[in-house]
């Protein structure tokens, strides 16, 4: 049945919230289906024009709708992967973890880099000279300091006031929230709610 493969692409998006390996094989199959539908339509519409064979018209229309649907499915697949990728940029920063990078195809990596560039350019334009980082202060501030547990060896961390602390695995710290926020999102620190 037409459009079933395109639907498979969409349900893949729906079933998994992570970014899966780009399903190139399935995309190719959908594109092939489109090509054969298109060829059939070209042949039929020629027949309609030359022999005035109106009986073919409904099947041409049906194939046309199937073509449009397939296109929509493919673009939705790409667009929603891009959206997830965009969320990651805000969560993890400009460098993607390798387990995600391997699931992307070239064009997506390129898109990510362009997005990074645009966003960085925009953030630099804010304020007077050094720009303004929009990826911090993601949640409303409640307290200045938060209690955190270090879950990974990180090494030295310099605070805003010049103090240097050592982040070792399984140690507890009371740190300024603004410093912790990115580290918590990267999974190096864990927020201990009190």
């Amino acid at each position: 049945m037409y459009g079933r493969k395109g639907f498979k692409l969409i349900s893949e998006l729906d079933l998994y919230s992570d970014i899966l390996p780009f399903n190139e094989a399935l995309i190719k199959e959908v594109l092939q289906e489109m090509q054969s539908l298109y060829d059939a339509n070209v042949a039929n519409s020629n027949a309609i024009r030359n022999d005035n064979n109106m009986a073919l018209l409904p099947s041409v229309q049906l194939r046309h709708i199937a073509l449009k649907r397939n296109k929509r499915c493919i673009l939705a697949y790409i667009y929603n992967r891009m959206r997830k990728l965009k969320e990651l940029r805000w969560e993890l920063g400009s460098i993607l973890p390798p387990e995600i990078n391997t699931n992307l195809i070239n064009a997506e990596v390129q898109w990510f880099q362009s997005y990074n560039k645009s966003l960085a350019k925009y953030m630099r334009s804010l304020g007077e000279d050094h720009g303004f980082n929009l990826t911090t202060n993601m949640v409303p501030p409640k307290t200045l300091y938060v209690e955190v547990k270090c879950v990974e060896d990180f090494g030295k961390l310099e605070l805003d006031d010049g103090q240097v602390i050592l982040l070792k695995k399984n140690t507890y710290h009371l740190l300024p929230r603004s410093v912790c926020e990115p580290l918590i999102r990267q999974g190096i620190l864990e927020h201990k709610s009190t």
Partner: protein
């Protein structure tokens, strides 16, 4: 709002009281702009004047705080206050970026009909929007569109446009007295808003009032 109390405290603590009073009015204005942007379905005219002013103020305050003793209790309060202001500004700008990314084509086509004085986007935002659209088009083309047959290769701007839902309902409080708002969906039912009164109404009926500042969304 919690913030207001803190600002007044600064006004008392600081020598340059005159400047601080205006800083407070800017903060109030930016809070209103932030809430409007947060609750309005469409993108609103930018308020980069407020953002720039506030960012400058933040820099100023950070300088002042360096002079304070580390053990000083006021330092903690100032820091907390700064964090809150920064949150408001980042959240405001992020909300705008999110709308730009979601409604890119719609916003760009609307923006093209406006003159440079009545632009809704700042120069930087406009550039971001244009680049965002180019990047998506590039992504679609390289992966899929160029492999599609014949006239299906086109990047169909019309079908890919996402428009904000202006029929959504919003909560608002009137700043001024407003007469004769026609309730959408009714034949000719009109309502008047008293200053300070609160209402729930379809956004499309009050869009212009939000932009002019006659009402604020809550």
């Amino acid at each position: 709002m919690e913030n207001n109390g803190d600002v007044q405290m600064t006004a008392e603590n600081d020598d340059q009281e005159e400047e601080e009073v205006t800083a407070q009015s800017v903060l109030l204005a930016i809070e209103e702009a932030w809430l409007n942007e947060k609750f309005a379905p469409e993108i609103l005219p930018h308020r980069s004047d407020l953002v720039d002013c506030m960012l400058q103020q933040i820099m100023h305050m950070e300088e002042n705080m360096k002079r304070l003793d580390k053990e000083d209790l006021r330092l903690m309060i100032h820091r907390m206050e700064l964090d809150r202001i920064k949150y408001v500004i980042t959240n405001y700008l992020r909300a705008r970026l999110e709308k730009i990314e979601k409604y890119t084509i719609h916003i760009l086509s609307q923006e093209a009909t406006r003159s440079s004085e009545e632009c809704y986007l700042t120069v930087a935002e406009l550039q971001f929007a244009k680049e965002f659209l180019t990047n998506i088009e590039m992504l679609f083309k390289t992966i899929a569109l160029q492999h599609m047959p014949g006239n299906f290769q086109t990047f169909e701007v019309d079908t890919l446009t996402v428009k904000p839902n202006l029929q959504t309902y919003v909560f608002l409080r009137a700043n001024d007295r407003i007469n004769g708002i026609i309730v959408p969906g009714s034949m000719d039912e009109e309502i008047d808003l008293e200053p300070g009164s609160q209402h729930i109404i379809q956004y499309s009926a009050v869009a212009d009032l939000v932009k002019s500042g006659a009402v604020k969304l809550i």
